[in-house]
Amino acid sequence: MSFLEVKHLFRSFGGLQAVFDVSFTVKKGSIKAIIGPNGAGKTTLFNLISGVLKVDSGEILFNNVHLENLPPYKIAEMGISRTFQNVKLFNNMTVRENVMIGRHTRSKAGFFTGMFNLPWSWKEEEEILNKSEEILDLFHLEEVAHLYPDNLPFGKQRILEFARAMTMEPEIIILDEPAAGLNIHETEEMAELITKIRDWGVTVLIIEHDMSLIMDISDEILVLSYGKKIAEGTPEDIQKNDEVIKIYLGDDDA
């Protein structure tokens, strides 16, 4: 039994095969990277796993439970959280409240409890606040906690989105290009945070174009091109793989 297992996954948009017969597994506690040229189907693959898109066919198993075609919120409840390629924050809520949403699946207070502020929820509210403070601290966001996300520099916004996803204490976190648009320092900070959370035992699935970052942090790499898996292995394997080299440097010697 695998932790996360994807079997023969297909998804097309009109006539375009965005994900074509992709299979792979992810080991618990590892960092697995998905790389490939623009339009390779990486984001589509993540959208299928997180329930944002429906699959055409194939299976996604998480701890042996089928995920395919479950709504995103159910998948979140199972302990899978994610970030987005084009950062999606709640700009109508403070940075602190953005992070607090991360505790949604880990708390239960319902509508009536909320309306009447029933005493039994006070402890839970306190727990949500404490956990959020802890995460804000860890991601160096405490100074901006009272601001609204659209007032933050882009790098901080990416980090906030990551922090929000981590507040859930997920089993797997799915990161779609977490370093895109970041400067060198911010990228370094991001890499540090990613390895840090792996050390806590959180499994990481990451898409990234920054090759040095990928080679540095990942345990395993999967290469997609035109929706198909063309290689899978350790960073060393991938660096030596002829087909991968051809795709990345290809057009010159063709």
Partner: protein, 353 residues
């Protein structure tokens, strides 16, 4: 527990008492009538603020829910069951004390349903209707949702206008007194203005207490997050359709409850209350008040309704609210309490001079 978030509510209570003492002190008791009505409209407004401002779901049909409450209680409490005492359910209601008996002005015996029961029935009907239309239409976004709620508002308006038990164009009058707690009475008796004023404001305070709690709770954060970004909210575990539906129902129930009490206070209800112009007025007030701003919308709701009820807008009443909507959308989309546009204006003047 943090009491800080309730400070504005204490402030409201003090303001309510102060205004009553002031108005009574200067012998202008009759102002209390419009202040009472404004309070009931205020409940509709803050309920709509939760739906539109916080959860980001527009409704241009909220007058319909007000009317559903008002007409339900008006129809049930003006129906005479005296001839139907043999019908098991009527008999049951009489025995359980859920009816009220009295005499009509001609000395004929009448039995009608207790307003408490009709309030309860109105709430149940409102929940049912809100759920029934909410499930399909809350899948829509933006303009489409606006149009669907508008359509719903028009349907209710036409039903009210075309149904004889709802009095058609005349509406329903002679709605009896609602005996509130501690024998306080909700009715249009001028002698009871002060007590009616306090009952209405008590209900406002309860509503705003509930909504203040809600927006600061787990579900409140969830409903604000889906306004911020639905896809992200969903991926954080927020059940979007369920949350939207619950807020929609809550907002509908607040409008309906306001409708019930207002109808007993006025002693009747007419079709204008369910009209599209009424819904537009609510939307306009929520917009001026700053959408996601309970207090801003409440304050604007009270001020504008009060002015309207006292007739300051004359025969251009509805036009004034239309103009308010346009001006706000153009110059202060965040409502007049966020005066960003004012700063821009000052900058502009500085530049040109």
């Amino acid at each position: 527990m943090k009491l800080k978030k309730y400070y504005p509510i204490f402030g409201l209570i003090l303001a309510v008492i102060f205004i009553q003492l002031l108005v009574s002190g200067i012998g202008m008791q009759f102002y209390l009538t419009q202040l009472t009505m404004s309070a009931y409209y205020g409940i509709v407004i803050i309920g709509l603020s939760i739906l539109m401002g916080y959860a980001g779901q527009i409704s241009i049909g909220h007058a319909a829910f007000f009317a559903i409450g008002g007409y339900t209680t008006a129809a049930l409490t003006t129906m005479n069951f005296a001839a139907l005492t043999d019908v098991p359910i009527v008999n049951f209601l009489i025995k359980t004390g859920l009816t009220i008996s009295g005499m009509d002005p001609y000395g004929k015996k009448i039995i009608y349903i207790s307003p408490w029961l009709s309030l309860f029935i109105a709430v149940i009907i409102t929940i049912f209707i809100a759920a029934l239309i909410g499930v399909p239409i809350l899948k829509l976004k933006g303009h489409y949702l606006a149009m669907a709620t508008l359509g719903f508002g028009i349907i209710i308006y036409r039903i009210v206008l075309g149904t004889s038990i709802f009095g058609e164009a005349d509406g329903i009058s002679d709605v009896p007194t609602f005996k509130f707690l501690f024998n306080f009475k909700i009715n249009s008796d001028p002698a009871l203005r002060v007590e009616n004023y306090y009952i209405a404001w008590l209900i406002v305070v309860i509503s705003i207490f509930i909504l203040t709690n809600l927006i600061n709770s787990r579900v409140g954060r969830a409903l604000r997050s889906l306004h911020g970004n639905e896809e992200a909210a969903n991926s954080m575990g927020v059940n979007i359709s369920r949350t939207k539906l619950l807020v929609f129902i809550l907002s509908a129930v607040l409008a309906s409850v306001a409708g019930v009490f207002m109808t007993h206070f006025n002693g009747g209800i007419g079709p204008a209350e369910s009209g599209v112009m009424r819904s537009v007025r609510y939307v306009a007030i929520v917009a001026v008040g700053g959408m996601a701003n309970l207090w801003g919308t409440l304050i604007m709701g009270i001020i504008l309704n009060y002015l309207s009820l006292r007739g300051y807008f004359g025969s251009y009443d509805d036009a004034v609210f239309g103009i308010i909507l346009i001006v706000i959308m153009l110059f202060a989309p965040d409502g007049i309490f966020k005066l960003k546009y004012c700063n821009n204006f000052i900058k502009l003047i500085k530049k040109t001079s």
